[in-house]
């Protein structure tokens, strides 16, 4: 867009010109019009005075018309029950167009069909396994991504079918609660605690070769992937029972919540509660190495947390003991960044958060409102866990726990105590130049902090820019390794090994410093094709 065109657009918007977008939604594969599709538009960049009701449904010939729009760059996408669901915003399928002054007509908006994956799940004898569940999960079956990409129960004929799966690489995960059949001698019900039992462990397709790398299946739009057969295997399992110490359940309240998670495969988990007398029992645990955690949650606050290793062999395991450790309550103050030593006077709603960085599963994030006078109380903080501290300020300049001083956003608590936060207000900057023209689809920057977060891509800094003419970037002070990536990058959709590969192969080290001259960053953004190349390389 030329400067003049931009000026004209800005002017027409200022004059309040309203235009319509008219077009047809078509199937990206067949080119056929799609009836009953919901079309949604959004302004790029975000504009607060954008009409809220900017959506329409296509008629029987696939046509739609959205009125009352402001000319300029917009993102458009369509959704439909017979196409993959929109899971993220903005969706990957969004098309970015310029809405001309006078409106746009005959726009053909493509809607991309998903794939359908179908097959059968059978037991060890080849009989159907009704009521097992098949989930479509990411290549790494990331336990933090709780929602699968698709799900299907298995029917009476052993069949499953998952449709509307967006193009991508996946694994299928099969779960069932129904234990394998077995003869049981005549005995009291309570005797089950002494019996080893059988279970169907969670199964994957494609199966993971022993010691090998997980395989995946790739689906393309409109693909009908049929005939997958998943046979469940029977494994021996044992009951695990024991005793919680250091915890008294409230009257009529629940006991501690206990979880066994298989090391290296945390989605393979068992759950139970302790009784009033502190006793607990897991049934049907497969032999292996586990993390045993005990947590107690009362009125949304974690009051106890403890973790220990547990080895489960092929004999029923009794007398496991776990001590419940109370969590910390951390009271504190936010200081006024401009007047050291003085608490911050509250302006509007403010919140302090602690997000666990490298913690056992089950350690939640913690929030506290900041009261007038800059005071806050964080409850349910787990000792020894590394947290990222954040609040209603760009970053943390310094934090004091008791008389120990730390710098930056990463913090660890060894005992309950008083926390003082000195906010950082002025962000540090760097100047950015890209060696190739900035892509239309936007640019994402990945900043790998060179501190304790280095090995945890979830806690890196991700910046997304939709303006192609970007020059200055801002971040909390510190040392980073930076890369640029074409388009929008969602850390939850990218496996960690790919993140490490990106920063390793093209990362530029840079230090962001407040009050110092902005350093120069010259980056070559990874194109979509290059990223796919890396993905392919890593898979081998």
């Amino acid at each position: 867009m030329t400067a003049l065109a931009a000026l004209l657009l800005a002017q027409s918007a200022a004059q309040g010109e309203r235009v319509a977008l008219e077009g047809t939604v078509v199937d990206a594969l067949t080119g056929q019009p799609v009836k009953g599709a919901m079309v949604q538009v959004r302004p790029i960049p975000f504009r607060p005075n954008w009409p809220p009701d900017s959506q329409a449904t296509t008629d029987a010939s696939g046509k739609f018309r959205i009125e009352n729009l402001i000319p300029g760059r917009i993102g458009v996408f369509a959704r439909h029950d017979r196409y993959p669901p929109i899971l993220e915003h903005p969706p990957k399928t969004e098309e970015i167009i310029t809405l001309e002054s006078g409106g746009t007509k005959d726009y053909r908006l493509k809607i991309v069909p998903g794939a359908a994956i179908s097959g059968r799940v059978v037991d060890e004898d080849g009989e159907p396994m009704p009521f097992a569940y098949v989930d479509v999960v990411g290549e790494n079956d990331d336990p933090e991504r709780s929602r699968p990409y698709g799900q299907s129960p298995v029917n009476d004929r052993g069949e499953f079918r998952i449709a509307n799966v967006p193009a991508g690489r996946y694994r299928l995960r099969v779960r069932t609660n129904r234990p394998p059949l077995r003869n049981r001698p005549f005995a009291p019900r309570e005797a089950d605690a002494d019996f080893a039992s059988l279970v169907y462990p969670m199964a994957y397709h494609p199966p993971q070769p022993p010691g090998g790398k997980a395989q995946s299946i790739e689906v393309q739009p409109g693909m009908q992937l049929t005939g997958i057969e998943i046979r469940l295997t029977v494994e021996r399992a044992v009951p695990v029972s024991g005793q919680v110490t250091g915890y008294r359940a409230p009257a009529n309240g629940p006991g501690l919540s206990l979880t066994l998670r298989r090391k290296g495969a945390p989605t393979d988990a068992y759950f139970t509660y302790s009784q009033a007398d502190g006793k607990f029992r897991f049934s049907g645990v497969r032999p292996g190495s586990y993390d045993l955690t005990a947590t107690s949650q009362q009125t949304m606050t974690l009051t106890h947390f403890s973790r220990q290793d547990l080895e489960v062999g092929d004999k029923p395991l009794k007398d496991v003991s776990i001590e419940a450790k109370p969590t910390f309550e951390i009271a504190g103050t936010v200081e006024d960044p401009k007047i050291p030593g003085l608490p911050l006077q509250k302006m509007g709603f403010m919140q302090i958060s602690l997000n666990p960085i490298d913690a056992p599963p089950g350690v939640p994030h913690v929030n506290s409102a900041v009261l007038p006078g800059g005071n806050f109380t964080l409850t349910g903080v787990v000792g020894g866990v590394l947290y990222k501290l954040s609040g209603p300020f760009p970053y943390v300049a310094r934090a004091r726990i008791g008389n120990r001083e730390s710098e930056g956003d990463v913090i660890r608590f060894d005992s309950p105590g008083q926390l003082t936060i000195v906010p950082g207000v002025l962000p540090a900057s760097a100047n950015l130049t890209t060696t190739t023209p900035a892509p239309e689809t936007g640019l994402s920057l990945v900043l790998q902090p060179l501190d304790e977060r280095e090995k945890h891509p979830r806690h890196w800094v991700y910046l997304t820019y939709s303006q192609p003419n970007l020059r200055t970037i801002q971040a909390a002070p510190g040392r980073y390794r930076v890369v640029a990536v074409e388009g929008q990058l969602f850390p939850y959709n990218v496996p960690p090994d790919q993140m490490f590969e990106l920063v390793k192969s093209r990362g530029q080290e840079v230090e962001f410093r407040v009050g110092a001259a902005a350093p120069q960053l010259t980056l070559t953004p990874f194109t979509r094709a290059e990223r796919e190349e890396i993905e392919k390389k890593l898979r081998q």
Partner: protein
């Protein structure tokens, strides 16, 4: 392979640890498919005695063997997905079955089961152009004989896939109708897909009846649906006490199965708005403290109705219990409970009668149909229940306003005792119903199972003439007048006088279906 051997070894150890010292018995038998007569493998057969049990899994020939069983009266269950669970002595899971008596050291090789295979239903949902509708909720509704008429009950549900297709399985044999439930909301904009019934009906009553036979699949059932503009309601509430914000709710009354409701506690300038709701019949309820208003209305597609709800006090009802018969003066503790014929949530209103006067009073009652429950003395019975001129023992009690007349409950202390004895002490399920027009009133019927000796003792029977049917196997939800008329010739008549003890011997009506 070695793994399999290890399992066996382990269970053998368990068996040894829990084996009875001596004189344990064995139950064995076969499990066959009631339709094909073929043996069924991998059926779990379990024998229960108190809180102890044993399990045996059938082999390729459908055979099982339960060992190490001490003497006692066992319940034996056979379960396999795809078949109706069965207790020994019956074929359906609606019945608890009968006991198997095992003497010390006895071997009973005749514990045989015939399992009824479940059916399936499949098809598609289309719009008025015949195009598939994805993500549509499909509900299978079972027709059951309850409270003296055919009623509907949710049986199964499914969601259509992107091709508009659905499939429901493990469906017990019976009479059904099929619904494509209404859909509305942001997914389809300011229109609603109206509820539709197989194949093309707009109400449950006009739906085609489907008979699902054991082990059969009804396929290709296509339901045509229609889209209509949504409607809206603006309700104003009058007569709310100072400082009390009324609560307004909306209940769709098109059918009791896929009942939808909305509620609102906030108004804008006294106006409660319900927008983008499907057209159809509704009840609008408003409550504020101890006041209530109910309006019934039908919304046309696209309608925007305004209405005013005038709050009135909740209903009140006075009543008394009268006890008649020998020792009547001894019984002074009565508790009367009102329940809804269809569950709506919330506690059932209860009133205790004053021991001196036997009078009771209900306050805070919602209008509508109420069922009356009262505790009767041992061997006592309900003689009559009247509300003014209304016979509420034999008719439904529908309250629209606080009744002027009291609810009068007459309890007799001298009910009759009846023992039904099965010929050859066979296990059976008996239906005992009065003769004449009271036969089809559910509260007068008794539906009971034989004990381990093939007997059914019943107390507190109102005096009168009864017919007794004893079935090998029957579905309790299908005991319609037509069904009983068809089986009239198999019934045995018995007359009971007040305070009398009678024994009636009956012959079992053998099940027709299934391969023997």
């Amino acid at each position: 392979m070695s793994g399999a051997i290890r399992f066996v070894a382990h269970f053998a150890w368990c068996a040894a640890a829990y084996a009875q010292a001596s004189g344990t018995g064995v139950m064995s038998g076969r499990v066959l498919d009631a339709v094909t007569g073929e043996p069924i493998r991998k059926v779990a057969v379990q024998s229960y005695l108190g809180s102890s049990y044993a399990t045996s899994i059938t082999n390729e020939r459908g055979e099982f063997r339960l060992e190490g069983l001490p003497a006692g009266s066992y319940r034996v269950l056979a379960t396999k997905p795809g078949y109706i669970n069965s207790a020994y002595g019956t074929e359906r899971n609606t019945q608890p079955g009968t006991y198997v008596k095992l003497a010390a050291g006895e071997q009973n090789p005749n514990i045989n089961f015939r399992l009824t295979p479940a059916g399936a239903v499949s098809g598609s949902i289309v719009d008025s152009d015949g195009e598939p509708v994805a993500q549509a909720r499909v509900v299978l509704i079972r027709e059951v004989w309850r409270r003296g008429r055919w009623q509907f009950q949710m049986a199964n549900q499914a969601t259509t896939d992107e091709r508009g297709e659905y499939r429901m399985f493990f469906v017990p044999p019976g009479r059904y109708v099929l619904e494509a439930a209404a859909a509305f909301g942001s997914r389809i904009g300011k229109t609603a897909r109206l509820a539709a019934y197989y194949p093309r009906a707009s109400t449950l009553e006009r739906a085609e009846r489907l008979t699902i036979a054991p082990g059969k699949e009804l396929s290709g059932l296509k339901i045509w649906t229609e889209i209509a503009p949504t409607a809206s309601i603006r309700a104003r509430v009058e007569g709310a006490p100072e400082g009390v914000d009324p609560h307004v709710s909306l209940r769709a009354t098109a059918n009791e199965i896929t009942r939808m409701s909305w509620s609102s506690t906030s108004s804008y300038q006294g106006l409660y708005r319900f927008e983008e709701i499907p057209s159809g019949p509704y009840e609008v309820w408003a409550t504020a403290g101890k006041l209530l208003a109910v309006e019934k209305l039908t919304l046309a597609p696209g309608a925007d109705r305004e209405l005013t709800l005038r709050l009135k006090p909740f209903l009140e009802m006075n009543g008394e219990v009268v006890v008649e018969g020998p020792g009547a003066e001894k019984f002074r503790n009565f508790k009367v409970t009102l329940t809804r014929p269809t569950f709506r949530g919330g506690p059932a209103p209860t009133a205790a009668a004053d021991p001196a006067t036997l009078k009771f009073k209900f306050t805070g009652l919602e209008p509508g149909v109420w069922d009356i429950g009262v505790n009767v003395p041992p061997n006592g019975y309900l003689k009559s229940m009247t509300l003014g001129d209304l016979d509420v023992l034999n008719e439904e009690m529908e309250l629209n306003e606080s009744p002027d007349a009291p609810l009068k409950i007459v309890v007799g202390t001298d009910g009759a005792q009846l023992t039904v004895e099965m010929e050859n002490a066979l296990p059976a399920i008996a239906l005992i119903a009065p003769t004449g027009k009271l036969r089809d009133i559910e509260s007068h019927r008794r539906f009971l199972y034989t004990d381990a000796d093939g007997k059914i003792p019943v107390r507190g029977m109102p005096p009168g003439e009864y017919r007794v049917w004893a079935f090998e196997d029957v579905d309790a939800s299908q005991l319609s007048p037509e069904f009983l008329d068809r089986h009239e010739k198999f019934a045995t008549t018995v007359r009971l006088a007040a305070g009398q003890s009678a024994v009636v011997k009956v012959k079992r009506i053998e099940s027709a279906g299934g391969a023997q």
